[in-house]
């Protein structure tokens, strides 16, 4: 169990790593705050804190199909706003994780209202019980429509949900048979959708005996989930997904199994697993640092949080994330976004650079102004030693880059900031300071290293 030993050093390096993998962008103040607490206190009471439920858009209760496009956008902005103002809890990162796990696409689901209710479900269970969440998802209106559960009825089974439930949501390929799918599909019959709610219609339910993973009975949907969660492949499957999200895209089965033991021991409660993961020497090992490629949503959100922008240009964030292949509520298919290297290609990498340039310039690529402006000189002065060029470069790099920068890289950044001047000439009061900071920040965020966390 060596990997799960608790870390002994709670230093700046550990805090930076943990923040960069959980809260989508952090500042110097965040580092200082975390260091003022014990790791147990910070991780269990702040990072894993449950928070009050946010007020939804007013239209989520009706089932009208009016303004679906506008409402989907509004919902996207609403969610971005929660991510920006998340505080220390990484609940929203978990909501994003579940959105990419129990996938539904707005195009097929139809009503943005349904996507809201599914999103709320992910938020309610962000750090909650995975088995219970899976039951709720199984009869969630958006999911019933997305994977044809509402069409699945006695005598006319539709295997779509049953297959993806086992393949993508709980067990993984190779851990079930075609018969298990067919029998589970029978047990999942009877559920329908009316507007934004789902209901059970007795006469559509297959009332016969089903045999799933060797167990027989007149099973319904809750039994299906209970049976699946008794399979040995279930806990490792879920922990593998957590591993890929928080640690590295290639799972280490040994550590995955250690996490799976915790998940099973706690009857699929997530908090103990996440807490152990974040405190582990494994998570804090040198190898892991800076090895994750930021997703587009993480990317556009963390820029705002690094610069302390509380009211960003949501429209521009949404457009950019879409250009980078991540449109919220519209994953590409039922397996979700592939992630990791698939995020970076010859189109998206340059587009990421264009986005960060725009943030620094306060101007979109089409020449129109952003809805906010970052005063770079004032921003530089929030760091401990703004008048010391070398210290300033180091301190800013700590916030923006998690990859261990080489001496040469730091030197290059310093040269960019100085723009030909001598180190002792640097001053934020110099009339050239803003121009130099602009070039410096654009350069910093164009580094390939900036894509990693």
């Amino acid at each position: 169990m060596t990997g799960l030993q608790k870390i002994s050093d709670w230093d700046e390096k550990a805090v930076i790593h943990i923040l960069s993998r959980t809260i989508l962008g952090y500042t110097q103040q965040d580092i200082d705050f975390a260091l003022s607490l014990t790791p147990d206190d910070f991780i269990d009471n702040y990072l894993l804190a449950d928070k009050p439920e946010p007020t939804p858009p007013f239209w989520v209760y009706d089932s009208s199909s009016d303004n679906a496009t506008e409402r989907t956008r509004e919902l996207t902005y609403w969610w971005y706003n929660l991510m920006i103002r998340q505080g220390y809890s990484f609940r929203e990162k978990m909501v994003l994780f579940w959105h990419n796990h129990f996938v539904s696409e707005i195009d097929k689901v139809g009503l943005p209202q349904r996507m809201y209710w599914q999103n709320k479900l992910f938020r309610d269970y962000a750090f909650g019980n995975v088995k219970e969440l899976t039951k709720k998802v199984t009869i969630d209106p958006a999911m019933l429509i997305y994977l044809d559960g509402d069409k699945n009825r006695r005598g006319a089974p539709n295997e779509n949900y049953a297959r993806e439930l086992m393949e993508l949501f709980t067990l993984g390929i190779g851990n079930y048979t075609e018969t298990d799918i067919q029998e589970a599909a029978r047990a999942l019959t009877g559920w329908r959708v009316d507007g934004v709610t789902s209901y059970f219609q007795e006469n559509r339910f297959d009332n016969g005996i089903k045999t799933i993973f060797g167990e027989s009975g007149n099973f319904g949907y809750e039994d299906v989930v209970d049976i699946i969660f008794r399979q040995p492949a279930c806990a490792p499957f879920i922990c593998r997904e957590l591993y890929k999200e928080f640690i590295y895209h290639v799972p280490d089965e040994n550590f995955v199994n250690q996490l799976a033991d915790i998940l099973r021991q706690n009857d699929y409660e997530l908090k103990p697993v996440l807490s152990a993961l974040l405190k582990s020497t494994y998570f804090h090992s040198e190898e892991i640092r800076g090895s994750k490629i930021k997703s587009p949503v993480e990317f556009v959100v963390q820029v705002m949080r690094q610069f302390n922008v509380n009211t960003p240009d949501y429209n521009f964030m949404r457009q950019t994330a879409e250009q980078l292949d991540q449109k919220l509520f519209d994953p590409p298919n039922v397996s979700g976004w592939d992630g990791d290297k698939r995020w970076i290609n010859t189109t998206t990498l340059p587009a990421r650079n264009v986005f960060t340039d725009s943030i620094v310039e306060g101007e979109k690529p089409n020449g129109s102004d952003l809805t906010f402006h970052i005063d770079l000189v004032e921003f530089a002065r929030t760091f401990p030693e703004p008048e010391n060029a070398a210290a300033l470069v180091n301190d800013i790099a700590k916030i923006f880059i998690q990859f261990p920068l080489s001496e040469k890289r730091i030197e290059y950044l310093l040269e960019t900031l100085l723009d030909g001047a001598e180190v002792y000439d640097w001053s934020t009061f110099d009339p050239q300071a803003e121009k130099r900071l602009k070039l410096f920040f654009k350069t910093l965020m164009r580094l390939s290293e900036y894509q990693l966390s």
């Binding site: 044809d148 069409k151 699945n152 009825r153 005598g155 006319a156 089974p157 539709n158 295997e159 779509n160 297959r163 393949e167 390929i173 075609e178 040198e286 190898e287 892991i288 800076g290 090895s291 994750k292 490629i293 292949d325 590409p332 298919n333 039922v334 397996s335 592939d338 290297k341 698939r342 970076i344 290609n345 010859t346 189109t347 998206t348 990498l349 340059p350 587009a351 650079n353 264009v354 340039d357 725009s358 310039e361 306060g362 101007e363 690529p365 089409n366 020449g367 990859f403 261990p404 080489s406 040469k408 890289r409 290059y412 602009k438 654009k442 350069t443 164009r446 390939s448 894509q451 990693l452």
Partner: protein, 508 residues
């Protein structure tokens, strides 16, 4: 309009000018992929169209005379009166009229019952199997095209224009174009102009990444940065060189293929293109949606074929459609079909043999799930394309496909060679003997990839005078200018496996 305003209108330039990053003034190419010699494939091109979701083969190529078909699909069957007949028991879906026309012209081959042993019904696993060309129980992390490119263009050659080895139209990068040996073999973009504008202002850096997990990630990102910078200009130039001659359907696939046509005809030497279209996962109420999918598919592809003809590039191109699986024989309870197994695919081009390869699906001999058994392994089609279209030898082909697969009679090999002896002429140089320089004229009767090389009598290469993809026409180049000693020289024009040689004498 000034350039800046132009860029702004494209919506792609950052506000106050772009930042240029130069690290240690190292040329951009420092991280570039190996260059290659396009003559290895003789200017041939393979275009792949991926139908994501699992296309319903039985309603695409319809065995309308089989009562089992009608019985299994009472709600969604295509009626005998509606099919586009290609024989007395086989017909195309009524939305496939453009394919019917290509079929009638002998430019479309239907390969029946394509699949593999122990079929997997997961979208993702089966897609990976198709892209990697693996067995059903074998997990391979790279694509068959990636491995093909690594084998076909193993060594960088200095003289070559830096064209990408494969292009995917779209925003993500497929496993198909990866090779574990060399990384990402292809590049992807949505359209050439946007691609070019995005790159504006970037340059690569050469700081070697550390040998760690994170360093490996960084190396990949830097590779992508270098590729995008290297290829943006050359792709835009190719696209600007020619214009589409036909109207394509205004769909994503139509737009993708319009771009591919321009790039091929515009002189890009890239041998493989990947395009894709989704929506084929028809679990419910499929009749209308499947009709629309097929209409888009056949309309876009036939526009592409017509365009290539008008642009003079049709002889070089073969297109193949593929999908991760077909669908269950029996319809489900929702007016749709669940995941199945074997299905037909299409191979299209001016140089295919035409007709149907294989027999009608056997609807009486199904597997335990009620799915079709396959007749041809999908890798047989790959083998055929590698050998007969891309000119790969059998032993190399086996390495690419990780096994030995028998080819099928799909490509008309004798017409497939574009660089035949009658298609070009190399004329005697003038003056001859010469001092200090002479003019060499050659003529191409069809567009083709050529090299014009001068050798000394020992067979050593003296200079490459000309090379690249050329339109039909007459060309003149100069050799000499006092840089070479007196003696006999041979000048050779090479196109594919064909050569023509003249003897020249330099007398000082």
């Amino acid at each position: 309009m000034d350039r800046r305003k132009f860029l702004r209108q494209l919506g792609l330039l950052t506000g106050a000018g772009t930042v240029s990053l130069t690290l240690g003034n190292v040329p951009v190419r420092a991280f570039a992929k190996p260059l290659f010699n396009a003559s290895a494939v003789n200017g041939k091109v393979l275009v792949l169209v991926q139908l994501s979701g699992g296309n319903d083969g039985l309603n695409t190529v319809v065995p309308f005379a089989d009562s089992n078909y009608h019985n299994a699909r009472p709600g969604i069957r295509i009626r005998e009166n509606d099919v586009l007949r290609i024989s007395n028991n086989l017909g195309l879906h009524p939305s496939l009229q453009p394919f019917k026309n290509l079929y009638d012209d002998g430019e479309l081959v239907i390969v029946q019952n394509v699949g593999y042993p122990n079929p997997d019904r997961s979208h993702f696993r089966s897609t990976d199997i198709w892209l990697s060309a693996s067995d059903s129980n074998e997990y391979i992390e790279d694509g068959w095209i990636g491995r093909f490119l690594a084998k076909a263009f193993p060594e960088p050659e200095n003289f070559n224009p830096n064209h990408p080895m494969a292009i995917q139209i779209g925003a993500s990068q497929s496993m198909l174009l990866q090779c574990t040996c060399q990384g990402q073999m292809g590049i992807s973009f949505e359209n050439p102009n946007q691609f070019y504008q995005l790159i504006n202002g970037s340059t690569a850096d050469n700081d070697p990444p550390p040998n760690t997990l994170a360093g490996e990630q960084l190396r990949y990102i830097k590779q992508i940065a270098a590729q995008s910078i290297q290829y943006a200009q050359i792709i835009k130039d190719a696209a600007d060189n020619v214009e589409n001659k036909v109207q394509y359907p205004n769909t994503s696939l139509g737009r993708q293929l319009a771009i591919v046509a321009e790039l091929i005809a515009g002189g890009l030497e890239t041998p493989v293109y990947l395009t894709s279209v989704g929506g084929f996962d028809t679990h419910s109420n499929q009749s209308n949606s499947h009709a629309n999918l097929l209409q888009n598919l056949s309309g876009s592809i036939s526009a592409f074929m017509e365009d290539l003809k008008l642009l003079g590039a049709a002889n070089r191109v073969v297109l193949m459609t593929f999908s991760e699986f077909g669908r269950r024989v029996e319809q489900n309870g929702s007016g749709g079909t669940d995941h199945g197994t074997a299905a037909p695919l299409f191979v299209i081009g001016k140089n295919v043999k035409g007709g149907v390869v294989g027999s009608n699906p056997n609807l009486e001999d199904l597997d335990n799930n009620g799915d079709l058994k396959y007749e041809f392994d999908f890798r047989q089609i790959y083998a055929t394309l590698l050998q007969d279209q891309l000119g790969m030898s059998a032993d190399k082909m086996n390495e690419v496909l990780l096994g030995n697969f028998e080819t099928l009679p799909i490509i008309d090999v004798k017409h497939a060679t574009s660089g035949g002896p009658v298609s070009f002429s190399l004329y005697q140089n003038y003056p001859n003997p010469f001092n200090p320089a002479t003019q060499i004229r050659y003529e191409l009767r069809i567009p083709q990839y050529i090299r014009l090389v001068v050798y000394d009598p020992t067979g050593a290469e003296v200079v490459t005078l000309d090379q690249g993809w050329k339109q039909a026409g007459s060309y003149t180049v100069t050799f000499g200018n006092g840089r070479y000693p007196s003696g006999v020289y041979y000048c050779r024009l090479i196109s594919g496996s064909y050569k023509q040689t003249i003897k020249m004498v330099l007398l000082k």
